[in-house]
Amino acid sequence: MDKETERRLKLTAAKVRKTGLQAIRYARSGHVGGSFSVADILTVLYFSKMNIDPEKPRWEDRDRFVLSKGHCTPAMYATLALRGFFPVEDLMGFRSADSYLSGHVEMRHVPGVDMSAGSLGQGLSAAVGMALSAKTFHKSWRTYAVTGDGEIEEGQIWEAVMAAGHYRLDNLTVFVDNNGLQLDGPIREIMSPYPIGEKFKSFGWNVLETDGHDCARIAEAVDAAAACKGRPTVIVAKTIKGKGVSFMENQVRFHGSVPTDDEFRQAFRELDGRIAELEE
């Protein structure tokens, strides 16, 4: 990836974080930590890798994406809005009763969302079904999904992982957003899913690891996944919960708690600084 492309992706990811945080501020509700950890992955997929058309969100031959960790709507909706699926201003209604932008990803009313999710562990199964559809009906589009590292404590995830391995779904690429924290604390302490890569490998998956905040490396991993034949690919992405705002990083509190007014101000200052730095 050339430096200019990388700079633009980093800038977009910073804007995704800022826009997502604005949505949370309007709503006084929403999940900031996991949104910030997944922001770079979403940016690379939606602004560089996925074959999509914001003008035709239901285009039959588009690549599909499932946010299995469905609570990270601030990042997801910010990404879709910035990509042109709907007006950024609509995020001012996020989580409000009159808005179509619900708390968890929802496919019927939100342009660009391919699958509703929210009850953890279910999205990956849907992604497997999508990839199986493409295989069965000889379609060339790909399916992408992101799960949380806490989410993979759900048994259904491993049913889906088994099925994708069994059906050799090489048109499926899954990210594990490995930020190490879940609502109640560090995943190692709550219910350790480690070693993550080995588990996927034993189910017949191609396992890649990457820095989930390095846009160039994420893009390389996505390309390597597409090149792998006969097996689905998981990209275990090492990330930082709350990435991009100093005092939110690696803090369990920012899983779902809303920042204070002072914290919002400080966070926007940092994100604006980052945006200005990348715009130069």
Binding site: G123, V128, A163
Partner: protein, 319 residues
């Protein structure tokens, strides 16, 4: 004696016939020779998928498949699909209103010897309370085939409840027409309405025969669609007969009896007595013996019908 066929066998044949539609895909969770989806599998192996013994993932995969424009049938025993995969059905299928047909076979006590863990008596209640879900429980082979075609043609989530046991044909009548959301009056009568679903329709027909010599003319209604329920037909039956008995191979809480009571109470209050499993678990045993022990027989329906008639306003015993 007309031939008895179970609704699951009729389902398997009808599903295979629906397979001519190349958009139709079938999943099963290691029970295809029981749910009879094996007939489809043998005819269209490229569009049949094993999920293995993992029903939650099966329903999720079906949702993903349906999101790409396919009609998806998803099979298991009622207990292990409506029960175990309830959350997946609710959140991955019904909430996005995807075109997935949840098929629960071996419903109710008539599973027999396998016992309580396999005897699902809660599925109608579970599926009925999910917003936007269509719930169908056909009474015989003929109606099952009609139901399969109808749910396949309908674009949205459905639950189809089927049984293991062979049942008598009750709908092979001139003029019979199946329509989703519309009940069928199988016999006219003005003293009491017997509203039944699934294999209890055959029992209700027999109960009507038993009541005749006692001078009670029972109307028999086959309510194959539990949701959306045929409100007009139920209301009319309550109004015209003044007494209702429901019959289902299901807990008396939350299923057909619950649904009928809700309508009658709010539109035409008359006595409603419910025949079904009285809020307890099933047990191992031969199906016919269990039906007897749990009161799921024509005899029992007839007795309740007599009680309901006596409870009517204006009945000599009530004056």
């Amino acid at each position: 004696m007309p031939q008895k066929i179970s609704t699951r066998v009729a389902y398997g044949q009808a599903l295979a016939e629906c397979g001519a539609d190349e958009n139709l895909v079938v999943f099963d969770a290691d029970l295809s020779i029981c749910t009879m989806s094996c007939i489809f599998r043998d005819r269209y192996p490229e569009r049949f998928f094993e999920a293995g013994i993992a029903e939650g993932n099966m329903v999720g995969m079906a949702a993903g498949m349906a999101s790409t424009g396919k009609t998806v049938f998803c099979n298991s025993f009622a207990m292990f699909i409506a029960g175990r995969a309830y959350d997946q059905i609710r959140n991955s299928v019904a909430y996005p209103h995807l075109n997935v047909k949840i098929v629960g076979t071996h419903a109710g006590l008539s599973v027999g010897e396998d016992g309580a863990t396999h005897q699902c008596i809660e599925d109608l209640a579970l599926m009925r309370v999910v917003p936007g879900m269509t719930v169908v429980c056909p009474s015989d082979a003929n109606e099952t085939k009609e139901a399969v075609r109808a749910v396949a043609a309908y674009d949205g989530p459905c639950y189809l409840r089927l049984g293991r046991l062979a049942v008598e044909p009750v709908t092979e009548l001139p003029g019979y027409r199946f329509q989703l959301g519309k009940g069928v009056v199988l016999r006219e009568g003005s003293d009491v309405a017997l509203i039944a679903t699934g294999l209890m329709v055959q029992e209700a027909m027999e109960a009507a025969d038993m009541l005749r010599p006692k001078g009670i003319h029972a109307r028999v209604i086959d309510l194959h669609t539990i949701k959306p329920i045929d409100r007009d037909l139920v209301r009319k039956a309550a109004f015209e007969t003044g007494a209702v008995v429901t019959a289902e191979e299901h807990n008396i809480l939350g299923g057909l009896g619950g649904a009928v009571s809700e309508i009658v109470a709010s539109s035409c209050p008359v006595p409603v007595l419910r025949v079904g499993v009285e809020d307890r678990f099933g047990h191992s045993g031969p199906a016919s013996e269990l039906m007897e022990r749990y009161g799921l027989t024509a005899n029992h329906i007839a007795r309740q019908a007599e009680r309901a008639v006596k409870m009517k306003k204006g009945s000599p015993e009530n004056s």
